[in-house]
């Protein structure tokens, strides 16, 4: 009998904690005539952030989250949106599907929208829930599979675009023509995202005269040794290698290639680089380029200046990274959507969704401005090539450009 009492006591504990939660808020009108949805009061707009703060991708995810939070702090310091402060409600997904669902369900009735859902795994886990709740969500999962999900928006160029543009750039650099072909290779994961990246590279190669894909080695996420793949690359004679990897594999591939005496030109997508890799890979990065859909911290543009100033003011102990820039840009997009919804006097989920259609977002020079269109297309085909400085930060080479090959690929796939 006693044993049954204990679960009841546990339930009792739950009861006391129930005081900490509130029931869902329904729509109502604010004192300024703006319709308010969940998470909106006369003083606040709650925006959810679902990121990994303690799990496998915490390095990038935490940076990205902070970038958005700092943007919100800055906006709030200037009066907020619609006279309301944006409050970030953070949930730790630990990059685990169950945790993500738990964190999402815990905040879904309390927030107006999700400003940032980081990682493909997390956005997949809550895809159907987002659809059911009509929750406008911005996903930092820069691939086309995520983009086409209902109510999910990716306001930046996707990795496939970065890679495709990288192919075109490499061809130009090498002066490739039909008579003087350029051999390229792609390195991708064995999952479906990897396949998408590989096919984007293939499509770009086909669309660019003189470019030939000679090898497409793949890797499993738990691989610790890349000798096999690098040997394959070396034997294929590829002059340019497109890296659709994460930072850990980047180190493995570049390092192993150096050991095997293979020195191609590397073109990595933006997700493949993190500044801390500069130290272990010192001296090996002369021919290493990163194709990014957005600018870097060394850009002399108003957006970056604002980012750095905001970090000084609101997060002086933290150092921004290129992932922080990503978070900041997502913040830009979120604020733009909220502002437009505010102008339409509709801060409900429907209002935000309507605001997101055809939304123009100006990134203040960090990357070309975009229009979100219907939310299911690639918003921008522009990316830019960068080299790596000694401290690991990216330095641009040339301007943003959108290659025809990338656009053709997008059109062929209905994006």
């Amino acid at each position: 009998m006693i044993r049954k009492l204990v679960p009841t006591l546990a339930v009792g504990a739950l009861l006391t904690l129930s005081a900490c939660g509130g029931a869902a808020e329904s729509s109502s009108d604010g004192s300024d005539g703006v319709k308010m949805g969940p998470g909106v009061t006369d003083k606040e707009i709650k925006v959810g952030i679902l990121s990994d703060y303690s799990g496998p991708i915490a390095e990038a995810a935490t940076s990205g989250s902070l970038g958005m939070e700092v943007m919100f702090d800055e906006v709030n310091a200037n009066g907020g949106v619609c006279g309301r402060k944006i409050v970030a409600v953070k949930g730790d997904t630990k990059y685990d599907a169950q945790q993500t669902v738990q964190a999402y369900r815990g905040m879904s009735n309390d927030v107006l929208m999700l400003g940032e859902v980081l990682g493909s795994l997390s956005i997949n886990a809550i895809k159907t829930n987002i659809e059911r709740d009509d929750m406008p969500s911005m996903a930092i999962s820069l691939n086309t599979a995520t983009m086409v999900a209902k109510d999910v928006y990716v306001p930046l160029p996707v990795f496939e675009v970065e890679l495709a543009n990288g192919v075109t750039w490499a061809a130009e650099q090498a002066g490739a023509t039909a008579d003087k072909p350029l051999k390229i290779a792609s390195v991708t994961g064995t999952d479906e995202y990897g396949k998408a990246y590989a096919s984007a590279v293939e499509a770009a190669a086909e669309a660019t005269p003189g470019v030939e894909v000679v090898a497409e080695p793949t890797f499993a996420l738990t691989d610790k040794d890349f000798t096999a793949q690098v040997s394959q690359l070396k034997d294929s004679g590829a002059d340019v290698v497109l890296l659709g990897t994460g930072p850990a594999q980047t180190a493995g591939f570049v390092g192993t290639a150096a050991q095997l005496g293979y020195q191609p030109t590397w073109v990595a997508a933006s997700g493949a680089w993190f500044s801390s890799l500069a130290e272990p890979l010192k001296g090996l990065l002369d021919k290493f380029y990163v194709s990014t859909g957005y600018g870097t911290l060394s850009d002399d543009v108003p957006g970056i200046a604002a980012l750095k100033a905001a970090y000084e003011k609101h997060a002086p102990d933290a150092t921004p990274s290129n992932f922080s820039v990503g978070g900041w840009l997502f913040g830009d997009a979120t604020v733009a959507a909220l502002q437009k919804a505010c102008d339409d006097k509709d801060l409900t989920r429907e209002g935000v969704t309507a605001a997101l259609q055809d939304l123009d977002v100006d990134y203040q020079g960090i990357t070309p401005a975009v229009n979100l269109g219907d939310g299911d297309s690639i918003v921008s085909y522009s990316s830019r090539m960068n080299t790596v400085a000694a401290d690991g930060e990216l330095e641009p080479v040339g301007d943003f450009y959108a290659s025809d090959a990338a656009k053709a690929w997008g059109a062929d796939n209905g994006f």
Partner: protein, 293 residues
Amino acid sequence: MTLFLQLGFQGVALGMVYALIALGFVIMTKGSNTFNFAHGEFVAVGAYVVLALMPHMPYWLAFLGSVFVTVSLALLVEATLLRKLISKGLTTVVLATLGVSVMVHALVLMVWGVGTKGSAGPVGSGTVEIGDVVLPLSSIATIVSSVLVLIALLVFFRRTSYGLALRATASHQEAALAQGIDVGRMFALSWAIAAALAVVAGIFLASFPRVVSPSIAVVALAAIPAIVIGGMDSLAGAVVGGVIVGLIQVLGAGYLSDYGGGRLHEVLPYVLMLLVLVVRPYGLFGSRGIERV
């Protein structure tokens, strides 16, 4: 042929890292009859501390410093946890080590952050070439060091009195007690040795071109097939098992990448492990009768 030799060499090098980790597990199992879930985290701590100390002192000193820290940590865990729980059954102890691994992981993240860092190996990116086959220095260092460690362990177990006492405790605790061996001290010794091995494994696991990152601890899981294939109570088995797993992974990545979705080399060690368990549960070198808990 060149490819085969190349991959074979790298496979052996990676396998030696697994062997070092497996050795740690085996020594703890033999010495104190426990399976330490936190061993992977000890490997991580070893690597992180070496990396932290490296810029300030010569490498061998950084290595010793890390051994000191990791062994202290292991002894702390052994003294507070193991002694209290050893009588309560294997499951309890194993779960407690799981709790410890969670705690240590969080501590590592709190001290050093969630990012990837540099390489913590003793040698850099240099290579030696024999014909067409390239032998990276870090791989050579791994293999040579592992062999030296193995020899040192063999000498320790066969020729020293402490080693003898450990073996006695491992084979029959009560008899060892009856001989006047301080069993508690033997437990501590086995954990200390395992922790030292963890540091060695850590520096080679994070040797160029690999880097130190929070996910280093997960590699310990890859050593489990090594232990089973080799035999959970056999030192030689741990090494052979480790090399087998390393070879499967690297050769598999080279030759099997067109089959099974490109991931066959990931899962084969576990398939082999299950086969061994069904056919010969005590592994290639283990002794019969280990089935009892």
